[in-house]
């Protein structure tokens, strides 16, 4: 009985989403559509980080780096050959990439796979470290990736960045990927892998005692997370049409972290809602930065207030959650609950 009603709910949500996107494309202006696209991408990003940080309990701050890998993969692969020549005017692109031009879907998959591959290469050595060290190590990797991309002129065009990436991303892609991610992760969590992830999060020693192969599961979780981060990065590249290494700094990871924390570590539904809310609020709160002209009175805005407010919200939420009202076990984060 429960199973059936759950499937019904899922189907209804799916239909509503498709209907919603269809109507949005029809009637909303480009600005709002952009926000919708961004929300979809952030849903995927939030879920991918949640898988690693929230459900498996590994504190990774490397997301920006894997996004960069995905973004550049899609950027370079989908860019028309003539565009490539135009972009790489300072130093020509490496020969084996000069004549490549792929479709969007293969490029996205490549983005995810290459990001996941790096996730495994990078993750394998460091995943056994404890929380804070893992955080700094993954942060370090993200920075290394950024520095490398800045300096490899013939591969990434360095600081000049890439321009003219075809704008393939539309609401169907961004939310389609988001839905696939949602489905995949909840599917993953329902099965034995999911239980293993949670066990690792709760108590590594006990999990190992139960026969769970820590290394294998940690790497698996990490690489899946990186895969989706890479795909989301690719979507971002195709949305903006232009990327450069300076985009992929810690601030980007912080935004995703904000979403994951607000939505609740380990909760899928929460992450989705938080992603949409945060993306919308980032724009809606612009009035804090700008002047408000109320006819007679002008309240001068202060640039940067937006981020101050967000930082305060983050700290506030973290503290309230710990002290507050939701189910928990001995100070550890919330148990995994679907929607």
């Amino acid at each position: 009985m429960r199973e059936k009603s759950k499937t019904h709910v899922t189907l209804i949500i799916l239909v509503l989403t498709i209907l919603g996107l269809f109507l949005a494309n029809r009637y909303l202006d480009a600005y709002k559509i952009r926000i919708i696209n961004l929300s979809g991408i952030y849903v995927t990003l939030g879920l991918s980080m949640n898988l690693i940080n929230g459900m498996t309990g590994m504190f990774s701050l490397g997301h920006a780096g894997f996004m960069a890998i995905g973004a550049y993969t899609v950027g370079i692969l989908t860019m028309p050959v003539s565009m490539k020549q135009m972009n790489f005017f300072m130093q020509p692109i490496v020969p084996f990439l000069a004549n490549v031009e792929w479709g969007f879907l293969p490029a996205l998959l490549a983005a995810g796979l290459i990001a996941a591959l790096f996730g495994v290469l990078i993750g394998a050595p460091v995943l056994r470290l404890t929380d804070d060290y893992l955080a700094i190590a993954t942060l370090g990797f993200a920075e290394i990736i950024r520095v490398v991309f800045t300096n490899t002129q013939s591969l990434t065009n360095g600081a000049l960045g890439l321009k003219g990436i075809p704008n393939h991303t539309n609401t169907w892609w961004s939310w389609g990927v988001a839905l696939v991610t949602m489905w995949f992760i909840s599917f993953l969590m329902k099965g034995t892998y999911g239980k293993a992830f949670l066990a690792i999060r709760e108590d590594e020693v006990a999990a190992r005692a139960m026969g769970i192969n820590l290394f294998k599961h940690k790497v698996m979780s990490f690489s899946f997370g990186c895969f989706f981060a890479g795909v989301a990065g690719g979507l971002m590249a195709a949305l903006l049409g232009t990327i450069d290494p300076n985009m992929f700094r810690i601030t980007l990871t912080f935004n995703i972290l904000l979403i994951v924390v607000l939505g609740g570590l380990g909760k899928i539904g929460g992450t989705v809602i938080a992603a949409v809310v945060v993306t919308v609020m980032m724009e809606a709160l612009r009035f804090l930065d700008e002047s408000i002209d109320l006819g007679l009175v002008q309240i001068k805005g202060i640039p940067g207030m937006r981020m101050v407010v967000f930082s305060i919200i983050l700290i506030f939420v973290v503290i309230v959650r710990e002290k507050g009202f939701l189910k928990r076990t001995k100070g550890r984060e919330l148990t995994y609950v679907k929607n």
Partner: protein
């Protein structure tokens, strides 16, 4: 609760604003007001706001500028521009400091057919293939060559060292064009004896400079943000490097002098104008107004912001219409526009063909050396 109140307030404000603005001409401005590029954005907006004060009306209608912060972030830049177009319904846009931010907006303004004028982005890619993007500044290929010419012809340099900010497309681009021109002018492929890099935000350049000192170049070319450059030259002088330092238009800022102190005496750089010998009459107007409003000397970015605004207003007046398409066409035909930063003609790409000025630091001030005409 806070969010709801906020949103209600926003709606209220917009309702009031939009109802009162039927006749107003709206020009959007997207610049980095926060983030790593905040300094440049702030300076540019100062110039734009000053221009608005001096000329707030055209065709009998009031002009309003809407400033949106792009946080030095590409995603935000795209959002900012999109919002200006869709929500605020601006007829033209000014922005942004930072070529990568301008490029983020490129596709959007092209698609929406809203003409955009960049004040200081110098990466050639910004206007390439984009009929709706223009700029009032010259681009890197020109500037790099100007400085190379000066180094070889005026200073008699046979060898040079280059220190670039590898994270800034401006610095990387300018360095490359300088290097190419220098090699050609000296006829010597090996005339660049040392090529070093640093990152934006770095404070310590002693290692790079020690290497440079070792190679004993005739001059050092170090285009970069004024903060980093000032520190760099300070450290160079401390290390005993006393050859001339050359740079680009980013050095034209009072902080270059205050951070650099006595070390930057003699530094030479290409820029758009000089407070000492105003390039045009408009320069004098601008400089005086800036001095009066802010109580300090103007900088190149404020001047460029000023020019971008004035150019758009000029075009509107000429065309007799504030329609986006008319503005775009008018901009494309700009020829001999007299701005604070020189006489501007926009070429087929939308890039400004104008003379460059070479300034030097002398006795704690920027003094004018010479003007270089476009070639």
């Amino acid at each position: 609760m806070k969010k709801t109140i906020g949103l209600l307030l926003l709606v209220l404000v917009l309702a009031i604003a939009s109802s009162a603005s039927a006749e107003v001409i709206k020009i959007g401005v997207f610049e980095p007001m926060t983030g790593p590029n905040a300094a440049g954005g702030e300076m540019t907006v100062e110039g734009i706001e000053l221009a608005l004060e001096l000329r707030g009306e055209v065709l009998g209608r009031k002009v309003e500028i809407i400033v949106v912060d792009n946080k030095s972030d590409k995603v935000e830049a795209a959002n900012a521009v999109s919002r200006l177009i869709e929500k605020d319904k601006v007829v033209a846009i000014i922005g942004s400091y930072g070529s990568s931010l301008s490029m983020a907006a490129g596709d959007i303004v092209n698609k929406a057919q809203v003409p955009t004028v960049g004040c200081s982005p110098t990466n050639p890619l910004v206007t390439l293939n984009n009929p709706y993007y223009f700029r009032v500044c010259f681009i890197d290929p020109f500037q790099g060559t100007v400085m190379a010419n000066y180094a070889v012809n005026e200073l008699g340099a046979k060898t040079a060292a280059v220190i670039q900010d590898v994270t800034q497309d401006y610095s990387v681009g300018l360095s490359k064009y300088f290097v190419d021109a220098f090699r050609e002018l000296t006829g010597n492929q090996n005339s660049i004896v040392e090529m070093s890099s640093y990152n934006t935000g770095d404070q310590d350049f002693t290692a790079q400079l020690t290497n440079v000192k070792n190679k004993m170049p005739d001059i050092v070319f170090a285009p970069g943000n004024y903060g980093e450059s000032a520190l760099l030259i300070r450290q160079a002088r401390e290390l005993g490097i006393d050859v001339p330092f050359l740079g680009g238009d980013t050095w034209e800022a009072p902080e270059f002098l205050s951070i650099g102190g006595v070390a930057v005496e003699g530094a030479v750089f290409s820029t758009h104008f000089t407070s000492e010998a105003p390039v045009t009459e408009e320069s004098e107007v601008f400089l005086a107004a800036y001095r009066e409003k802010f109580g300090r000397e103007a900088n190149a970015f404020a001047a460029l912001g000023y020019d971008a605004y004035m150019l758009i207003l000029d075009v509107i007046e000429e065309a007799g219409s504030a329609d986006s398409q008319a503005i775009r066409d008018g901009l494309a035909q700009t020829e001999g526009f007299v701005g604070a930063t020189g006489v501007i003609t926009l070429d087929a790409n939308g890039d400004a063909v104008k003379s460059a000025v070479i300034n030097q630091v002398d006795d704690g001030k920027f003094i004018y050396l010479t003007t270089v005409e476009p070639f």
